[in-house]
Symmetry: C2
Subunit: 314 residues, 2 copies
């Protein structure tokens, strides 16, 4: 009998789910909307109902399901407890326990969504073949996940991998969402890159193709212009790459992974961006000739379901 | 039959050794000089001979020895290989394998000395009762060790825990021993604190009891003067505490330990210094109300033999 693991990635808009073979082959994936009304109370019920319905439709017996893994968009304590999950409206809940109950006692394990995505990338994505990676997701914000010996390092207060909120830039004056100032996210997220470009456009009057976008300039505009050789855009990319290279150096001298996997929308700039990050990473790690590999994520939006399945498939 | 583990801590001047019960009680400790001539080739022989002699003297049969743990003052790869150990003159050696051979095949495990000391502090020192700690040793340099789930995080290139060489201060102009600039060690080691004081004494002409020491000012002078309320010394301590608080915040948002254990000569300043570090640690972690505990190391120079014994006692 073929045995199955279920990967579930709960997001603020939709819940992605997948059925996986034990060897990690994705058999089927689907999604349902995240119903956030009434403090998100229907989300897990919807997930459970949808899983039971898909298993029935696929003629898969519950006996052949090993269990389910669950990625949660917020801090998760070691026992699965979630104090607050702002994105879903959840408070004071143990989603792992609740979903297990709704699925007739099926084993369910859970983790923070960014950590779970990192596990997925290690298993079947950009970090395949490595056991120790840090994933850095450059999207609207900056997320991260630390994998050591093929396991998520979740931390004791649900904070591990929150590398987007490491203070890295002393001169930053604006306040970050987290309440701090000078966070990695403020300079290296898509939002941060766009802001950096706006600041530079306002500060100097050198010609730049970015001027036509004015206040509407995006990270993609910046990266595309930089690739095309635009001087001002290149300066922005150097700034972003410097802080990311510094971050990677800090991470190397803390946990020393084999590889850094860069994902998220900003990473679509590809090797061009990685090369700038790597230049500064090398500059900030004179202590050793042996460097970690820096590469791109490969699973895109599926990283979460892969990682969630890996949680339960072990 | 009482079973024994041996803890060995190799330093640049002497090798410390201890016999431990399985429960971690230290039965006997002693040391031998580190013979560094001829690229340190006699060090392990001396250690093996000394262990055999002490076991004989104590009438302990080799059958009751579980094994030995070994702390090495340099980078150690996962299989025990040491490429270069500047402090001892070693090159291209696997000390764990060699010592095992010299002790008739006794199981020997090894690790970097700072990492091993961190394990010792977790087991029986300032971090007792916790499974996830980071130890920060403020001595002539700044060392560190990362313990997750009661195990050393050694990293894949022997760099994990090298937190003294994290770049933290952009405006630093002097070059660190590692070849970088603005390392934690340059501001928070005993040497760094003294330099910071010299710089401040030169930069301003406010009265300070530190002036009498001139270029001979030490970290201890600074910390003592700060405790006594000396304004200039207090400013130096604020600078040091700010960068250490920032370092701890970075570590929390990477691996999120339960506790930070502060050791080394500088930590003799005690709670006074911890309070300043903690103030800035809180400032740099607005993301969460849940903070790690910050406390003092307790085992002093014995941390290494405790940790080495724990390596082999598991």
């Amino acid at each position: 009998m073929q045995r199955i693991g279920i990967g579930i990635d709960i997001g603020g808009t939709s819940v992605k789910m997948g059925l996986f073979q034990e060897d990690g082959e994705l058999l089927y994936k689907w999604e349902v909307p995240s119903r956030k009304e009434e403090a998100g109370r229907y989300i897990l019920e919807d997930v459970a109902a949808s899983i039971l319905s898909v298993l029935k439709e696929k003629d898969i017996n519950m006996d052949s399901v090993i269990g389910a893994g669950l990625g949660v968009p917020g801090p998760v304590l070691p026992d699965g407890y979630v104090g607050v999950c702002v994105n879903l409206g959840w408070r004071d809940i143990n989603p792992r326990q609740e979903l297990s109950r709704m699925l007739g006692g099926l084993p369910v394990l859970s983790g923070n969504d960014a950590n779970v995505a990192a596990l997925g990338e290690m298993w079947k994505g950009g970090g395949k073949g490595y056991s120790d990676i840090v994933m850095i997701t450059l999207g609207t914000g900056v997320g991260g996940g630390v994998i050591i010996n093929e396991k998520i390092t979740a931390g004791k207060h649900g904070l591990a991998g929150e590398i987007g909120h490491i203070h890295i830039r002393d001169e930053e004056q604006e306040v970050c969402n987290c309440g701090g100032r000078g966070c990695v996210e403020q300079v290296a997220s898509a939002t941060g890159i766009a802001r950096e470009a706006r600041r530079k456009l306002a500060a100097v009057d050198t010609p730049s193709r970015l001027r036509e976008f004015g206040a509407q300039v995006t990270a993609k505009h910046v990266l595309d212009a930089a690739k095309a050789g635009d001087g001002l855009a290149l300066e922005v990319v150097e700034t972003v790459g410097r802080y990311l290279g510094l971050l990677l150096a800090q991470l190397s001298m803390t946990i020393d992974p084999q590889m850094f996997v860069i994902g998220g929308g900003v990473s679509k700039a590809g090797r061009f961006l990685i090369d700038v990050i790597e230049k500064y990473y090398v500059e900030f790690t004179p202590i050793s000739e042996d460097k970690a590999v820096i590469g791109l994520a490969k699973l895109g939006n599926d990283a979460g379901i892969y990682g969630a399945a890996k949680l339960i498939l072990g």
